[in-house]
């Protein structure tokens, strides 16, 4: 079985490595410094278990997991993060509080061996919860090919539903994110992002004007020249936010 350790502090990785000596069946495939390396390593090696730090350079552990299409079983390691700890407990995901000893580590491994199935579902629920944290609702992390892009929410023009994905429109082009429209409607700042249509969420700061369009409908013209459909309900919501 394969495992990967992801932590930006070398000594924090070394302690996990040391405790893992007791488990020769678990082979350390790679050690990673940050989430970027982490995504690559996980896709490459398809590990059975990942030790993942939360606070890391540029993208945190949660954002890294969101970029994966197939999530491995994860044991989180963190020093101090009240918000995350609450989320772990709510979703029965195991975590190790630094510093931890071999005994506590053994228990986590034991738990993983017993519950190896079902981890995926708990992790997804966990990610949904933490994406509502103030820090994460200010940006969207996407993957384009092998590159990872962090989009600050103010740079988003609008979001468009595209089958099982959401297309994020920015001045640098479109990016796909495997989330639902409802997810974005809930997490992005409601004073800035309005569900103008069943399939569209628009950044109100990008709107230059709203024109009537066919019967009962409108269309929002953006500074970028983009055009976003506005349904009857969406028009009402836009009016409330814009104070018209």
């Amino acid at each position: 079985m394969k495992t990967i350790i992801i932590d930006d502090e070398p000594l924090a990785r070394s302690i996990v490595r040391e405790y893992l000596k007791k488990y020769p069946e678990l082979e350390i495939a790679q050690e990673c410094n940050d989430g970027f390396e982490g995504v690559k390593a996980i896709q490459q090696d398809q590990p059975d278990l990942v030790f993942l730090d939360i606070q890391m350079p540029k993208i945190n552990g949660f954002e890294m997991l969101e970029l994966l299409d197939q999530r491995p079983a994860v044991i989180f390691t963190t020093a101090f993060d009240e918000y995350a700890i609450k989320a772990f407990e709510a979703h029965a995901v195991d975590y190790l509080l630094k510093p931890f000893n071999q005994e506590r580590f053994d228990r986590a491994i034991q738990k993983w061996k017993e519950h190896a199935v079902g981890y995926e579902k708990n992790t997804s629920e966990l990610l949904e919860t933490v994406s509502h944290s103030p820090a994460q609702s200010q940006r969207v992390v996407v993957k384009t090919g092998s590159k990872i892009k962090i989009i600050p929410s103010q740079d988003i023009y609008f979001l468009e539903a595209a089958d099982d994905y959401v297309k994020v429109h920015t001045h640098e082009g479109n990016f796909l994110k495997n989330k639902t429209m409802n997810h974005f409607e809930k997490t992005l700042d409601p004073q800035q992002f309005v569900r103008s249509h069943r399939s569209y969420i628009v950044n109100v700061q990008q709107i230059t004007r709203i024109d009537p369009y066919e019967k009962d409908n409108h269309i929002a013209i953006l500074k970028s020249g983009g055009r976003v459909p506005v349904s009857r309900n969406g028009y009402a919501r836009l009016r409330t936010v814009l104070g018209l």
Binding site: D8, E9, P10, L11, A12, S14, I15, E18, N33, D34, F36, Q55, M56, P57, K58, A79, F80, L97, K98, P99, F100, N101, P134, A135, Q138, R139, I150, P152
Partner: protein, 348 residues
């Protein structure tokens, strides 16, 4: 309200006198003099009670005072009225027989005025006291929180302990060294008073301790450069002023980019100010990570409380470099008046 009340009293007085068959002229003169002099006495009572609020058991004193003032008012009124209207026929007789009624009228008005004043000023005072209490509570809470944050940097502390835990088995000597450094650092944070002034060189020693711990944690990723002029080292600054800037730069630098990070600190004395610049690299497409900015705000606030100036902290973003510049005036320029109660300024 006050004015209207007195106008009504005056009008009533006139009408009563008229009803008692006094000529208009006499009624008006009599009423005006009586009511205006009574008004003067009422104002006197109100003014006294504004500055002196009696205790509950002393309320009887107020009644005595009202009686006493009523007597004086009656005598004064009698004298004034005789002077102004004594020449009218039968007025003297009327005045004499109406004295008891006038007396009770005066006592009633003066009593009411004092009662209302006592109640009103008491409630005012209570409101002010409450306001003061909440203000004081807020201030002390703020100071407390600030101190707590300075002492407890949970992330830093637990991660350092985790590093020590790892070192124990692989490099026991280094583990021991780091325990020492961490202890010295924590002791330094706890011992220092918030607004104590220390030499910049002392703050630098403390800073170096902090940086060494962080370098053990982050390994090769963290590099620092210091450029400090001779003159700057002896400048007096409030303790723990620069450390939050460094902490901020490290957090921002290390969590805002991947790869190696060099933090630079430069200090000079320019125009009777110690100018300290802390620089860290950052990626232009990144937002400030969570938690940064708080350190900067607390530094800004402290400098404001100490020197009553808001122009001492400057933040610059250039390309891939984030620079915070603070200017510390000479200790003599402290603004004593601006320091809220509870924060002491000490110099050693």
């Amino acid at each position: 309200m006050f004015g209207i009340g007195w106008a009504i009293a005056l009008a009533e007085f006139i009408l009563i006198l008229k009803w008692l068959k006094m000529p208009w002229q006499v009624a008006i003169i009599d009423s005006s003099i009586s009511v205006v002099s009574l008004l003067a006495f009422s104002l006197l009572i109100m003014n006294t009670l504004r500055f002196y609020t009696p205790k509950r058991e002393r309320y009887i004193n107020i009644l005595t005072w009202c009686l006493f003032l009523m007597g004086i008012w009656l005598a004064l009124n009698h004298w004034l009225l005789m002077l102004a209207a004594g020449h009218f026929d039968g007025y003297h007789q009327f005045l004499k027989s109406s004295m008891p009624v006038r007396g009770s009228f005066g006592l009633l008005i003066l009593g009411c005025v004092s009662l209302i004043s006592v109640v009103w000023f008491n409630s005012q005072e209570q409101k002010q006291a409450e306001q003061r209490k909440t203000d004081a509570e807020k201030l002390s809470k703020e100071a407390e929180l600030f101190k707590l944050r300075q002492q407890l940097q949970p992330h830093f502390l637990f991660n350092s302990l985790n590093s020590i835990n790892a070192l124990i088995s692989i490099k026991p000597d280094e583990a021991r060294k780091m325990v020492q450094q961490l202890s010295d650092f924590l002791r330094g944070t706890m011992r220092r008073e918030e607004n104590q002034f220390i030499r910049f060189s002392e703050e630098l020693e403390y800073l170096k301790l902090y940086l060494e711990i962080e370098k053990v944690r982050f390994g090769y990723r963290l590099k620092t450069e210091m450029d400090i002029s001779e003159e700057a080292t002896s400048w007096k600054i409030p303790s723990l002023l620069v450390q939050p800037l460094m902490e901020n730069a490290i957090k921002f630098g290390l969590y805002g980019t991947t790869g190696e990070v060099t933090i630079m600190l430069r200090a000079r004395v320019i125009d009777k100010h110690l100018v300290v610049a802390v620089m860290n690299p950052f990626d232009a497409d990144m937002q400030m990570p969570e938690g940064t900015g708080f350190g900067l705000n607390s530094v800004k606030r402290r400098l404001y409380l100490l020197f009553a100036r808001t122009d001492l902290v400057e933040i610059n973003k250039e390309k891939n470099c984030f620079v915070v510049v603070i200017r510390v005036p000479a200790q003599e320029d402290l603004a004593d008046t601006l320091i809220p109660t509870g924060t002491k300024v000490q110099s050693i």
